[in-house]
Amino acid sequence: MPAYNEERRVARTLAELAAFSGAEHAITVFLVDDGSVPAVDEEALARAKGALDVILARHGVNLGQGAALETARRLALAEDERRAPRCFDAYVTMDSDGQHRPEDVVAIAQAVREGADVALGDRFGGGSDVPRSRALLLRLARAFERLTTGLSLRDAHNGLRGFSRVALEQMHIRQNRMAHASELTRRISRARLRFVEVPVAVRYTDASLAKGQRASGAVAILVDLLQGFLFEERS
């Protein structure tokens, strides 16, 4: 879970998720504070975390969402405090601003448990109220991705994604900022992973809309993608 200047929303998101953590689902949250100013409030997290295990890493400076997701991925794949490899049925990424519902997080994890390598949240199948300007932008992004990655996703830029361990090992993110979504789609496409799209709801709030991507952000994404395409050494 990447977090950048989400203030109290992080603790609220954790608290919501905590209600779903228990004997049935043991959830460990890898929270990456991407250089928030002020830093995320650890006391608030401690109060909100309930039965969740929360591991906090902090980037000293803001790097971008892609970089935060990559840090979380490394933490999940690394050994734990007792130097044992971490065992998990599913790894799920979600936003920290409360736009994703915890029941959808569980649904995504369940899809991975049932055999999908990758489970992607699809807000257009979930009856969530997507603002029209946002819907148009996402449709454009979809067409672009079909062209560049060869994979047709209904909702490529949903932060709610689930991976099996095998899939996660292949999801190295090099795009620090928002272009990581296209990068992930490309990796999923290349690796020929079994993926499913799971209908989820996205709760748009004023805060999430204000921070969300605008059309100008799309240009920045294109520039990042072009540079990635030009300068990336084959991996």
């Binding site: 608290a15 309930g50 929360v54 890493a57 902090r58 980037h59 990559e70 840090t71 690394a78 300068f231």
Partner: protein
């Protein structure tokens, strides 16, 4: 060959002189760089005042105008420089990212449940 002292030529040479003076004052200690800059600027000034030199050189290699003789290689160099700079910036960013990430992972820690007053009451509040 006679010098062409037009208002444009004067303005350009004045610009070169001012820029060089500024750099001399600001970076007076980097002598070698200033020497190179001085040679490049002086060459530029000569080419501005005696455009015929560039024109003759251009004709010699089959380019129509003297200005083009200077501009063509300059554009090629600038385009290459801009691509290389972007690439370097990207590589630097990747290295910087790994550094910040390494520090973050080094200092990673679990959030401990708060003890005492609000131990159980706050679960999933």
């Amino acid at each position: 060959m006679k010098p062409e002292i037009t208002p444009a030529a004067l303005a350009l040479v004045a610009l070169l002189v001012v820029l060089f003076a500024v750099d001399l004052v600001r970076h007076g200690k980097s002598r070698r760089l200033l020497a190179v800059q001085g040679v490049v600027f002086a060459t530029g000034a000569v080419l501005i005042v005696y455009p015929e030199i560039a024109t003759r050189l251009a004709h010699a290699v089959g380019i129509g105008r003297g200005v083009d003789f200077v501009i063509y290689p300059l554009v090629i160099w600038l385009v290459r420089e801009s691509l290389l700079t972007r690439r370097r910036r990207r590589d630097d960013e990747a290295r910087f990212t790994e550094l910040v990430r390494a520090v973050a992972i080094e200092r990673v820690r679990p959030i401990e449940r708060q003890r005492g007053a609000h131990s159980s009451a706050d679960v999933a509040s």
